[in-house]
Every structure is written in C-alpha cells, then in structure tokens.
Point group: C2
Chain length 182, copies 2
C-alpha cells in the first residue's frame, strides 16, 4: 500500500466493516426457518453473548421475538449458494431446508432445530432486545451450548470465517474470489 | 464433512463464533490509544451502527466512555504483529503508535486520530452504551464517515476479513495459517 495514497471519503455506511456471514435458524414450533445474517457479532465473553440484527418486517424476526430462541449455524465456504438462497427468499413462501438440502436436527437446550450440515451450531436464548434504533432491531442471545464437528477446528483464516459479505459482491468465500474485472 | 460425524458438545462460549479483528483508536484529547477488538459487529444499516465491546477495566474504555467517540481501523493481514501488540499491551504504559510504527492522522468529523497505515478507517460517535451485561460493556457507534484506500476494494475473502480470532491460535490471518501440528 502506498503511504501517500489519498484515501476516498465515503458517506456514512457500514459497508466497509468486515462482516462474517452466518445462518440463523428459528421456529414457531410448527415451522422452522433459516435466515442469512451478516449484521452479527460477539458482544460479551461472560456471560457468552452474541448479537444478531434483523429487520422487524422479516418472517424470522417474529419467530425469534415470539420464541426467544435462535441458533447461529456457521456455514462452510462450500455452502455459498445455500447461504445466498437463505438470504434472498422468505420463509413465508419457501421451505429453505428442502431448497438447500439442509437437515434439521434437534437441539440440546432449546426448541430450534440445528442445521446438521453446518460444522458449528451455537444455541442461544434471547436475553435482551433493542428496538427503535433504526432499520434493524438487535437480539442479544446468551449461548447455551455449542455443537462442533471435530474436523471444524480452524486451520486457516478461511476456516474461521468461511463466508463474508461485501457491498460490491454480496456474499462470497474462498471458492468465489472476486475477479478484478467484476 | 462426514454426515454421520458426531459433533462434540461444548460448554457455553463465544469461542466458535467467526470473529474479525479490528483496531479501535480513541483519545482523551491529550493521549491517543489503540486497542485490538474482536468482539465487534454491525448492528444496523440505517442509521449505520457498529458495536464494540470492551471490559470496563481497560484504559480505552475510559477514553471512549468520556469522549463518546472512536475510530474502527481495519488492519491488513500484514499488520498481524502490530494487531497482536495492540491487544496485549496497555496504553497506560505503552505508546502503541510508536511501538507499531503507526501514524496518527486527523479525522474528518471527530477528535480521534485515524491509523494512516490501515486501509479503511470508520469514524464513529457513541449513540448508546449497554453496561451491566457481563464482563464487557457495549458501545454502539454511529458511523460519521469512512476513509477508504481505493486499492482496498476487496478481491477475495481475505481482503474483507484480513485478520480473525480463534481461541486455539489467537489472532491470525493469511500470512499465518495454522500448522496442523500446532
């Protein structure tokens, strides 16, 4: 990087923040759904707390708001297409589990199914909800238990954060490095 | 991944959540500091909001709490050692700018200096603070402006999230893929 390179000034946006992408599963007891989330992060070590932000108009918002539970499923870089689908379809109309070939598996502590094909599943109970902050509301979830495929232990950066989001190219990962001409 | 692989159950922890690593700069007007943060994420699109979580005992906590401002600087994968230093030393005793060879540059909207050598700098004003949730308190900052090195436009996953954190290996990136024997 050239030290004398003049930086561009951009209007206020979260677009340049490094955003990992996760799959959040939720349920109303009868119908389970999956939503792709990039507005997410750790907020505390003890208790272990994770935030996920969702627009109140989303189908998943109501499921989480009513049940007080969700699972954070970490996708692999090979699940790019499934992750894109879960972020572009609504669970009102689409059975995303079937569309993605995902298998719902009973969780240990909560009623929300895990995605079997994701190597890491983090079961959470909502302890705090922040509304009226803007386009999104924040669910802060306390981790109850974590399911880990023993082979998921990270060997490289791309194992820790297989998929990420950028405004230029949407969701992408190792298997879809952006072509410079895009 | 073998579909019949039995997953391990782990006690509640945030350790398996994909955590990007950023450098947060802050100041009391006389002394500017840098702290490495992995507990961070986007929480809203409009207004553009980013959360950073810090232990109240940290030097940087007081700087941000008193000033109500901070900058999120996104490090490159080549700044791994500097990022580790900023996360392991206290600004009370160490001038981290000098120790890292970082250059403070005047921000546009706030009083906190940016790190010139980081390709992306996100200026934020604290709009909400959540305390008494646990070991960490959450500062939610509203983005004021973003400085971007034109050459920072992402070409691959590792450009979007150059450094990340895992409990097994601490902070690492492309240049330090974990050896399987570690």
């Amino acid at each position: 990087m050239k030290m004398n390179q003049i930086k561009e000034l951009h209007d206020p946006t979260v677009a340049w923040f490094p955003a990992p992408v996760v799959l959040v599963s939720c349920t109303n007891g009868e119908k389970a759904n999956i939503i792709t989330i990039a507005w997410t992060g750790v907020v505390c070590s003890q208790p272990p707390l994770i935030s996920v932000s969702i627009r109140p108009s989303r189908f998943s918002y109501k499921l989480i708001s009513n049940s007080g539970e969700f699972v954070v499923n970490i996708p692999t870089s090979t699940q790019l297409e499934e992750t894109k689908l879960c972020g572009s379809k609504t669970g009102k109309d689409t059975n995303k589990w079937a569309a993605c070939g995902f298998t719902p598996v009973k969780a240990t502590k909560i009623s929300v199914p895990l995605i079997k094909e994701c190597p890491i599943n983090i079961e959470c109970i909502v302890v705090k909800t922040l509304t009226d902050i803007g386009t999104h509301s924040i669910f802060i979830g306390e981790v109850q238990v974590v399911h880990v495929d023993p082979q998921a232990a990270p060997k490289s950066t791309l194992d820790v954060i297989p998929l990420c989001y950028s405004p230029k190219s949407g969701i992408f990962g190792e298997s879809s490095a952006i072509n410079e001409e895009d």
